[in-house]
């Protein structure tokens, strides 16, 4: 079965600092990978998805970027964080069939 590793679990960063969140997947190859952001008490907003190495689709214009340097690695980055980048960031992988998606445990980012 698939397992998604996300780290760190919590992160406090000052405005203007860079960001790098990493997501790695075990138990599958050539997965479809996704980055979501969840504001407090809200639903999930899709930020980026990737169907393969180097292939990134961006869903919303924003201060963030994503990269997929390896098959099972998906990275979310920012050169300069904004206060509005605060939120709960979740990485997900498509399992397929009747199994839906597997989610990581998330990173809670607070920009101060």
């Amino acid at each position: 079965s698939q397992t998604i590793h996300q780290w760190p679990a919590t992160l406090v960063q000052p405005v203007g600092s860079p960001l790098s969140l990493e997501c790695t997947v075990e138990g599958t190859s050539n997965p479809n990978l996704y980055w979501y952001r969840q504001a407090a008490g809200r639903g999930l907003q899709l930020l980026f998805y990737s169907v393969g190495i180097g292939q990134i689709s961006s869903e919303v214009p924003q201060n963030l970027s994503a990269s997929r340097p390896q098959d099972r690695q998906f990275i979310l980055s920012s050169k300069k964080l904004l206060l509005s980048d605060s939120g709960f960031y979740l990485c997900a992988c498509l399992r397929g069939g009747f199994y839906g998606y597997t989610f990581g445990s998330g990173t809670r980012l607070t920009v101060v």
Partner: protein
Amino acid sequence: SQQGEEDPQALSIQEGENATMNCSYKTSINNLQWYRQNSGRGLVHLILIRSNEREKHSGRLRVTLDTSKKSSSLLITASRAADTASYFCATEKNQPGGGNKLTFGTGTQLKVEL
């Protein structure tokens, strides 16, 4: 924009009662999925219903899908305190450039009291 809208936004029931949550969406879909999220945690997949299915069961969960009304419902029977969580519907659709996209609703916060 949110593809799905759940109602109610919050639901409080007594243990043993049934909980029903509804979801509406706007475009055509491949399937609709329901997820559960405990506070501050990742999401857990509960059940998936394909666009050509009308009803599906899994344990104490029952999901219906009405594609003509673009709506779905999740019923949790004989609820337990451990069912307390947020529940999200999500619609999946193929993308023209490849891959699938999963779009989430706004969620229902369920509280089951002893």
